[in-house]
């Protein structure tokens, strides 16, 4: 099948889309700022010598609310889409999504533990308390993924099919544990748990941002270097190893990067579905299955899509706001159905 778009024009298009999404995300919000003020405040924050008179509000909204939120959206969207590509490459199945190796359910378990059990260790030091939820979610995701990986290994070989089934079993186990916590929770914690499961970029702050930015930058720099190996893996595991790829190492890297990236994203923004599943599909449709294009293009597309979805989330019901997971699933699910039906025709 001939790709619809050449990689070059795809990258130009996606870069423009991403820049547009960033600008919209900075310029639009429930507080309506004059466009000129936004522009001047943005330039001032970049260090240009512009008179700050009358810009206090614009700078505050831009610097303390919209900029961290935009950065969070970029990092979360990019890393989720990238992990989606990694998982679909690892399982050689376009239906794979980052949740398959247990990272999402593990993170949900960690979060439930923190939300419901958090009050039990009330005497936490100031430095840890606010980050308990993120920390537990991150560690939960990493822990369950490590277990899935361990279960899939036998005689120094990683069996992808076993890993897949282990992932399904552990996901079920983790959801039952989350169910138990739901039962134990009181009304208020129940609402917190529900909202966490729908994800949100609300309340982004720099102190919560930097661990995610660090992790996602690392993953975004590392994974695209493995594009050729992923291409070889498309042919099959033994074929890839005949081509000189260390398949075991590749699998380990893919699982590790996904666990790290998705774990950090979920810890920072809660569960956001469908980005990891749909974005790689979209790029494959446009530019074909070559991972050299697919990996970097998915980062750009995932980041742009999440920013645009967040725009809907914060504007649709202003001054209240929608959890972003609702928006991404609302866009993602019909699109996925369309892909299914199109393939059948």
């Amino acid at each position: 099948m001939k790709p619809l778009v050449k990689p070059r024009s795809l990258f130009i298009g996606l870069s423009c889309l991403c820049l547009l999404a960033i600008w919209l995300s900075l310029a639009l919000g429930p507080v309506s700022l004059p466009l000129l003020d936004t522009l001047r405040a943005a330039l001032r924050m970049l260090g240009l010598p512009i008179d700050g008179q009358g810009l206090e509000q614009a700078e505050l909204i831009l610097g303390q609310i919209r900029l961290p939120r935009t950065l969070l959206g970029l990092a979360v969207g990019g890393v989720l889409a990238l992990s989606g590509v990694a998982m679909q490459g690892l399982f050689r199945n376009p239906l794979a999504d980052p949740g398959l190796v247990g990272v999402s359910s593990g993170a949900a378990l960690g979060a439930a533990l923190a939300i419901v059990g958090g009050s039990l260790f009330g005497g936490l030091p100031e430095a840890v308390g606010p980050y308990l939820l993120s920390l537990c979610a991150f560690l939960g995701g990493l822990g369950v993924t490590a277990l899935v990986y361990r279960l899939g290994r036998c005689n120094g070989q990683t069996n992808v099919a076993t890993m897949l089934l282990a992932g399904i079993a552990l996901t079920a186990l983790a959801s039952s544990a989350v169910g138990l916590f739901t039962y134990l929770a009181d009304d208020a914690t129940l609402r917190t748990l529900t909202f966490w499961n729908l994800g949100s970029l609300n309340g982004a702050s720099y102190s919560r941002l930097w661990p995610l930015v660090l992790v996602s930058t690392g993953v975004a720099l590392w994974l695209p270097r493995r594009a050729r190996a992923l291409n070889a893996l498309l042919l099959g595991e033994s074929e890839a190893s005949h081509l000189g790829i260390d398949v075991e190492r590749l699998k380990r890297e893919l699982v590790f990067c996904t666990a790290l990236g998705v774990g950090a994203a979920v810890a920072a923004a809660g569960m956001i579905g469908f980005v990891g599943l749909v974005v790689p599909h979209l790029i494959r449709l446009l530019a074909g299955p070559d991972h050299r294009t697919l990996l970097p293009a998915s980062i750009l597309a995932g980041a742009s899509l999440l920013l645009l979805a967040d725009l809907v989330a914060r504007l649709a019901l202003a001054p209240a706001e929608l959890p972003i997971g609702i928006v991404t699933a609302f866009i993602g699910a019909p699109f996925f159905l369309y892909l299914l039906l199109r393939g059948r025709a």
């Binding site: 919000g29 429930p30 507080v31 309506s32 001032r44 924050m45 260090g47 700050g52 206090e56 509000q57 700078e59 505050l60 909204i61 610097g63 303390q64 609310i65 919209r66 606010p130 039962y183 929770a185 009181d186 009304d187 208020a188 609402r191 917190t192 909202f195 949100s200 609300n202 309340g203 982004a204 702050s205 919560r208 914060r314 019901l317 202003a318 001054p319 209240a320 706001e321 959890p323």
Partner: protein, 294 residues
């Protein structure tokens, strides 16, 4: 660097502004049902420019812009209402959003949602100061305290003559799969104030199997339905849970409704009246205990 410098500059500007501006906040956003009710009761409904989803009373508040659920507030959404003050219970959050709102120069005041009189007194005193209306706030509290004292007096009078009835409170949604209110809930406090004995001994709100429901044989059923009210809610409850019809409470027709919005956010102004209605059902023979008080 420039960012923090401007933030500091802003803080200084705010402090300076605060020093010479002794005037009280005029644009209020409330993120708590009971708080919105008290603000309205203190005659300041017109100062409210936004409320959260738990603020359902008085009904006119529903016309105001909704800032969403109190635990999931959006900083920019609230700032777009240009409030001078945000009031809410300690449940209000998430914390990073509150600090963003604070840093934009909006006064953020947290109140306890604990259901007892000393807490209510502090809440009303504080609201009175913020509204410049201390005298009326004190008056409101005294009236409230009197009503609750009368309530308690009449309940103990009735309890001297009759055993307290065993009660279950069912919190449901159109009758289906009700949750039973246990210990450590506002519902439990309400039942006790009205002179009932809560038969449920678990803590929090939990679903029950119908068998154990019938096994507890409550004398009175109190239902709080989130989507229906009145006879429709009563009918739905018995339709969805037929076994309830065999309880002593249903046979004697002692099934009474409670507004579920009374159970969140601390003591509200409508509570004394509801307590009266409840105790009238709990002690039907006690010569209408609510009116025997001096």
């Amino acid at each position: 660097m420039r960012l923090s410098a401007s933030a500091i500059a802003l803080c200084i500007a705010m402090l300076a502004g605060h020093a010479n501006a002794a005037e009280l906040p005029q644009r209020w956003v409330s993120a708590g049902g009971a708080l919105s009710e008290w603000v309205s009761a203190l005659g300041a409904e017109s100062k409210l420019v936004g409320v959260d989803t738990t603020s359902q009373h008085p009904a006119s508040l529903k016309a105001l812009p909704s800032i969403g659920y109190q635990r999931q507030l959006s900083a920019e959404g609230i700032l777009s209402l240009r409030p001078q003050i945000l009031v809410g219970t300690e449940e209000m959050g998430p914390p990073p959003v509150l600090s963003q709102i604070r840093s934009a120069g909006v006064q953020v005041e947290l109140f306890s949602a604990h259901a007892d009189l000393p807490t209510l007194q502090r809440t009303l005193e504080h609201l009175g100061q913020l509204l410049g209306n201390e005298a009326q706030a004190a008056q409101l509290f005294q009236g409230y305290q009197q009503l609750l004292e009368q309530q308690q007096a009449s309940v103990s009078l009735a309890q001297a003559k009759h055993a307290s009835p065993g009660v279950l409170l069912l919190l449901g949604h159109a009758g289906g799969k009700p949750l039973i209110a246990g210990k450590d809930t506002a519902a439990d406090w309400v039942l006790r104030q009205a002179g009932g004995r809560n038969l449920a001994t678990h803590s929090g709100y939990k679903p029950f199997s119908v068998e154990s429901l019938a096994g507890l044989s409550p004398d009175v059923l109190v239902f709080a339905d989130r989507s229906l009210s009145g006879d429709a809610a009563r009918a739905a409850l018995f339709k969805e849970n037929p076994i309830l019809a065999s309880t002593a409470a249903a046979k004697a027709g002692r099934v009474v409704e409670l507004d579920p919005t009374l159970l969140v956010g601390g003591l509200g102004p409508r509570l004394p009246h509801s307590l009266k209605v409840l105790s009238a059902t709990f002690y039907p023979d006690a010569a209408s205990p609510a009116t025997t008080a001096p």
